[in-house]
């Protein structure tokens, strides 16, 4: 996918008239089109970028939404180091990225490979696995909350197969709450990743795999050395989506545990929301938002730089 994109500018210089035509086209763009382009840009700048920039300056203040914001320098960032809940939230966010990202990609890829070949009823399986994706995260959260209730489906199922000892209050137990939410989130994400990889697998050249099979490569070797390298473009997309989705995870945790019990399933995003909109500590909350932003941007840029360097 990325290889074709990279190739485009090179191939496009094949005829010399191209730049001239592009210039004429540039001038031929009617003013109305500019209006259509600039108005959304202005809206985006005013309602997205400007507030986002404001959160940087807000993060250096103490403000409860009333009166003037009081500048406090880097106090909000210093406070984060002493805040035990931030420590929990950072740990949980790392766990979330690793487990949510790792498992949803592994399972999604596995399902895509398994369901790639045409077989009877394969469409049904694919649709069934993709189906959770159509529900909003908040709805998924509420649905799983019911499953996890004391006396709910999960516990009854465990008791029916003789695992009474394992049954517990999944969302009220600080040891299991985060993982219980993770299961729900992965359940939903897997279908999405599967669809992305299915599309990638459709783009792979089957003759290469056949050739490798003729050469005596095992199924694992064919996947590892022939198919997987061809999925590099999809991998970039999946990686970016997974990191962004993990860092912005908020709704499902809020719907299922609100960061509880006693902050044990707090993520940076939920803690930011709680500080901002329950406690009205808008300065501290903005500082948390800045940290999340830096983390997300850091991950993405590092990865993109590495990915493009390899090209």
């Amino acid at each position: 996918m990325s290889s074709t994109q990279v190739a485009t500018p090179e191939t496009s210089s094949h005829d010399g008239r191209q730049p001239v035509r592009a210039g004429r086209r540039w001038r031929r763009v009617p003013p109305l089109v500019w209006v259509f382009l600039l108005v959304p840009l202005a809206v985006e700048l005013a309602w997205v970028f400007w507030p986002a920039l404001n959160s940087f300056s807000l993060s250096l203040t103490k403000w409860n939404g009333v009166g003037a914001a009081e500048p406090v320098g880097l106090d909000n960032y210093r406070r984060m180091f002493d805040d035990p809940i931030v420590r929990t939230a950072v740990t949980n966010t790392v766990i979330w990225i690793v487990v949510f990202g790792g498992l949803s990609v592994l399972i999604g890829l596995g399902l895509a490979v398994a369901l790639n070949r045409p077989r009877r009823g394969v469409g049904l399986y694919r649709s069934a696995i993709y189906l959770p994706m159509v529900f909003a995260l908040a709805v998924t959260g509420l649905f799983w909350r019911v499953l996890y209730q004391p006396g709910g489906t999960v516990n009854s199922a465990l008791e029916n197969i003789g695992l009474d000892g394992v049954a517990r209050q999944w969302l009220a137990d600080p040891d299991t709450a985060l993982y219980a939410v993770l299961v729900a989130a992965i359940w939903r994400q897997v279908g999405y990743i599967m669809v992305l990889y299915l599309a990638g697998l459709k783009g792979c050249d089957p003759s290469l795999e056949e050739a490798a099979a003729v050469d005596g490569a095992s199924a694992w070797q064919r996947f590892r050395y022939v198919v997987f390298p061809q999925l590099r473009g999809v991998n970039t997309v999946v990686f970016a989506i997974t990191v962004i989705d993990s860092l912005r995870t908020f709704d499902i945790v809020w719907a299922m545990t609100r960061g509880g019990p006693y902050n044990s399933s707090q993520l940076l995003s939920t803690y930011m929301f709680e500080q901002g909109f329950t406690a009205l500590n808008l300065g501290y909350s903005s500082a948390l938002a800045v940290v999340i932003f830096v983390l997300a941007i850091g991950f993405i840029i590092t990865y993109l730089v590495r990915a493009t360097r390899e090209d």
């Binding site: 009617p30 109305l32 939404g65 009333v66 406070r79 006396g151 209050q169 006693y262 329950t278 406690a279």
Partner: protein
Amino acid sequence: MSTTDLSRRRFLAGSAAIGLSGALGGCVGSGGSNDGGGGGGGESAGSSGPLTLQSSAADPQPKAALKAVVDTFDGPETTINTVAVENFRAQLPTYLTSENPPDVLTWYAGSVARDYASEGLLLDVSELWEGDGACAGFSDALRELSTTEDGTQIFVPTHYYWWGVFHRRSAFDQWGIQAPETWDDFLALCETLLGQGITPLTMGTGSTPWMSSGWFDYLNLRINGPEFHLALLSGEHSFDSAEVRAVMDEYAKLIPFIDPNGRSYSWQEAVTPLVQNKAAMYLVGAFFTESVPSDVVDDIDFFRVPIIDDSLPLAEEAPTDGYFAASRTDNPAGAKELMSHLAAPESQEVYVAKAGGAFLPTSTDVDTSGFSPMIQKGITLLEESDQLTQFFNRDSSDELQTTADTALTRFLDQPDQVDDILAQWQQAAEQVFQG
């Protein structure tokens, strides 16, 4: 051909621009739009611009009740803007500080209102509390609750409710038990019920962890008294003190009696075991009756949380709801007129009748004879009390409430960690009071 094409596009662009400006205008503010009217003029001009009532009553019944009350208002034209309570809470500072604020807003009496008043954001409504004003006849407790430190009134309370230990009358009869008189009787009753395989207490602290503050508030009121309680919540005492420790010791005695599944429930879900006679009692606000099936409501009764130290003034939690007005309103006279209407006995009667839940009117002129026996009992309960408190968050702040939620839900799980929990609670509370 190209010209017609273009003109159609221009039309589209134009309409898009109009739509956009409309959207922008909609975001900026929702107050009355007559700019000239109230700015410098004062109230005597009799400005009659339209009014906006910003309401957090988003549940169907209270929403309909408020609409019914406002429909009978014959003053300036009034629009109700209903906003879900979570958003309302977060946006309240924005509403009050905006150039063109909503004129009248629903909210809570007590420390939250006082905080905004100290910023000069609330309209002085003292005249409603004097002479033949709509609030002049309200009780002294309500007057105190609506008064700022400098002695002006900024709040118009219209209804309140009480907290108590609720139970099903038929279930108590069936089990042959009676409402306990003393704290020891109460603990003994819980022990007996537990022996019979009945969960003595239900409490939903899962998605509504603030419910755990109910018992904390009451035990603190009963053991240390209302004066200490309010001072504690305003940061004058430490949560890591011998007094709070004594409260936690008593709270720990209750933990074995509380339904362990309640840790997964919301307060609404915790009503189910009570209704099904699996749990016997529920310390909750009277608002909970809106979650009780209608054929069971008449079977619900309650008793006062038993007294522990009878040398202390008798306090009850009676969270009070009502209205305040933004000081920047264009139409202060109209805002006061609307608030007078909302506080009038006839309006309160309509509201209480239609809002569901068990609300009490603040006006003594409301005819309460038609109310249910339980509400009558609630009125008596509060009349017999020496002092009324609000609830943990209303007597302090939503921010301090989050520290209580963390400390108390952890305490319910790990009562043996009480020292650590109280130390951390105090640490978190200090952060709140500094911040």
